[in-house]
Symmetry: D2
């Protein structure tokens, strides 16, 4: 078992391979896990949004976590996604993923009706209590109906297990506001909606995002250049990588990643219906973006 | 078994009673079902938004449908909610609710990533195919990430099983657009966000909504006045009833209904955390609205 | 001079005819005014949104009010639009329109930065003080950055000059909330986004909207049927009229009205650039809607 | 006369000082202009959003441009804001500001009804044709009803006079998309909603924003550190400066700048009603932000 005490760098949101019957394709997921570790990623995040958590029932989610934990075999930390509408379900998922061997938890609140700040805080606190391991809280004003406000983030950052935040908005300034308010208590990760280089510049730890599934080597290279302070080289690489992020912003995220992985020889099936697989013109955009960075 | 071939009138969205452990309180749900039928409602809709479907796992949803079907005992049609992110899950729920004895299906699409029109259409078509019974399609631009566009509604209205639409927007004009486009193929039900009298005036069949759980008698009276064309009396009653709708629009829907039911002696527990129960000031608003219409 | 003390019925938002140089075409505006009065409208509202107030400078707005007041010649009340970002400008417009002879004022707040409730209230109060005549307050959450909240509307309804409200949202229920809260102090008018029949049913006074420029006779007929309580006939006519409202909701409002007027022989020029005139396919939709109701 | 051919660095959006009667306070504006030039700013942008252009009529806008052009006396370029709903008005403003002596134009589209891409393109093209000088196009999805899409920006970047873009969204990644698409033809400036350091890192030219009115020296220092590639020092300063941006994002922009200027001894009056001046608690936030960076 690895540790999530010092998360940093490139932690891909794993696509979830499924077969024609909608079952988790464990062999494909093992192969993808092995490939990403070989490429040098610093951690793995199954069951993020790219991983289609919202389309998988408990049994399938369990299969995902089991497969990734086994395949990673302690070489890099596995940060498993917990997403629920009820606190009780979130606690149950957290405990189960930890039993299976996840090193850390990525905590997502799925609100149907809007939730007040105190409810949001209680949800994430309950997950952190149950995790007995480092928790990354997830904020996304675009897909979540109730989001983490800055005062709630500040309060949550005082929980000993709440150690990281991943922000999936496009508002990079908000990350600086978080860093200023949490004064070293909360490490910040970018999503594919941010310019990685900018997040690294302001003090971010790395990024947790879908696109690094299809560009793991280039993502790691970008991270290393950032750490070395080689900002001119960073920007040369970042400019090329950005076309990939743009493609993911335009298309269904899971469909785009799965199309890219298929082009690279890692067939993970299609996104679960009624989500659509990418069409030919869209695949061409993904192909061009991958070719530009030498990922194909 | 009743029939959903001729749905009309007042079809309450049932609250889902839960105990302290979060389990479905079957006794309370039976009692509520019995009470509403006694008050003259024309149907029952378990697992609507008010019924907290988004907070219940499959096992609990099954318990809800079973309990309501048994308690209704064929006296009024039971329209059970199907809500899923994947087409496969929606089909499975549809088949199971029908096996249990639901007379019709209320079909809801839970999109995490946005879905294109053809995906939306395929989802509802799959539910309708599986239902082998009348289906009500649900549209709510406020809570659903991918909504039913008018062209999709028009195409779906040609499916022999897609017979009704419930609209939970505040845009009453959209219902008239639907009626004009579907030319008698689709019956329209209002939600609590519409003025019932206005929907009845333009040709609606009735309403499926949470508030009639706490005002069943007054809702039935309003329906009868509408059918009789007694519009002056309709508006006298409607004006008083509207305060109830306003309260539900301001507060968490499930919390407001459960507070109202508790005041009426039907304790259904609290909404599932992290949703909050109403506070004292909010309960006072619900109480005043109920007293005004003689429902307390 | 007519009086705005008893506004009701059909009060068209007048299109503003302009020539190729962008100057107000006074002759066309006189002709339109004459035509609408002949068709039986109950009032005239120049400088509403359909009248492109936002595209006209003070000199052109003055020309519009002068022309309509002169052409109406006291036969029906003229309700002139006041729209400004600053309170000082709103007061100046109000005083000038009243000097010219406007019988009432339609008050619109154009906010660039969001304004708090007390600022919104002070703006409308200042207009009402300056008007020394009945004022209609305008609320449109879709086009206005700061809107009138229900508590502000309730407070404003106690000003002796604030007598009417026109709501341009699609939320008909909000009008019932306004009526309930203002208890007879505020008369309510619908916009083209509402079903007129529904607004009349709940106690509205009529409608102020662009589409009645191109369907004045049919609009007056609908109003008379509503007043007579002939709801079945109301709905037969309303269903046909609704296609017109749908066309205006889809297209640029001013472009749609100007296209319709041109088809009817009242050439009012095109909307001011960079707004575009309707294309051929869009004109065909307007033509079909007009033919359906016998307005062409 | 200075030149706008090589815009870069810190170009404050000037507040517009007004007296109690709402007239432009030319003496205060001259004093502010002199002060900012002394502090080393690289240009001046009167009539931006901070400058309350939306609250000033043509006569007052003219007074602002005249005063700033005269006071700047060719020492730094003056980029005057043009904002209109009609193309004709935008052309007239552009020509007049250029006659008065503005070195460049900041072009803003004020749409009331939504405008299609071809209309947006024609508006900015007309301004650029009339300017006969470098034009900065302004994009702000939060305050503008019709915004510049990436394809329109790409096409506009080929106009010889369209040389710069200022983006007032919070989406820093969009700036990188613009830079990638316009390949050196369009220089990019940040607004106060972006982290300046991040925009400089990705290749931005500087920032045009209100907050540098109250922190000109610190803003210039930040710019120089960015140009020197001293990113560690950049971030130390940037972190402190960010609290200022946060204050401006929370409060009315003009009110916040005017409060800050008053604290610094440059009384510019209050924002034009119905905008409200900051209250005591809000002023305290601005004061703290200014003290933290030594600007008070």
């Amino acid at each position: 078992m690895a540790s999530a005490d010092n998360l940093h760098g490139v932690i891909p949101y794993l696509a979830t391979p499924v077969d024609a019957a909608g079952e988790v394709d464990r062999a494909a997921l093992r192969r993808l896990t092995e490939h990403l570790i070989e490429q040098g990623v610093h951690g793995l995040a199954p069951l993020g949004s790219t991983g289609e958590f919202a389309y998988l029932d408990h049994r399938r989610r369990e299969a995902v976590v089991e497969t990734v934990v086994e395949a990673a075999a302690g070489r890099v930390p596995v940060i498993a996604g917990v997403a629920a509408t009820t606190t009780a379900d979130a606690i149950a998922q957290t405990k189960r993923w930890r039993e299976i061997g996840a090193d850390g938890i990525l905590a997502i609140l799925e609100a149907y009706f809007p939730i007040r700040d105190d409810g949001v805080e209680s949800y994430f606190t309950a997950v952190a209590d149950a995790a007995e391991a480092p928790v990354t809280i997830y904020t996304n004003p675009n897909f979540q109906r109730s989001d983490l406000s800055l005062p709630v983030i500040e309060r949550l950052s005082r929980h000993p297990n709440i150690r990281y935040l991943k922000d999936a908005s496009t508002n990079t300034g908000r990350l600086l506001s978080v860093l200023n308010r949490t004064e070293g208590r909360l490490g910040v990760f970018a999503a594919s909606s941010h310019i990685t280089a900018a997040v690294m510049l302001i003090g971010g730890l790395g990024w947790m995002a879908g696109p690094s599934c299809v560009a793991p080597r280039q993502s790691v290279r970008l991270y290393e250049l950032c750490k070395a302070g080689a900002w001119d080289e960073v920007m040369t690489l970042q400019r090329d990588l950005w076309a990939l992020n743009e493609a993911f912003a335009r298309f269904n995220l899971a469909a785009a990643i799965k199309a890219g992985l298929r082009l690279q020889g890692f067939d993970c099936g299609d996104p679960l219906p009624p989500q659509a697989a990418l069409g030919d013109a869209e695949i061409a955009v993904v192909r061009a973006a991958l070719e530009k960075i030498g990922a194909l």
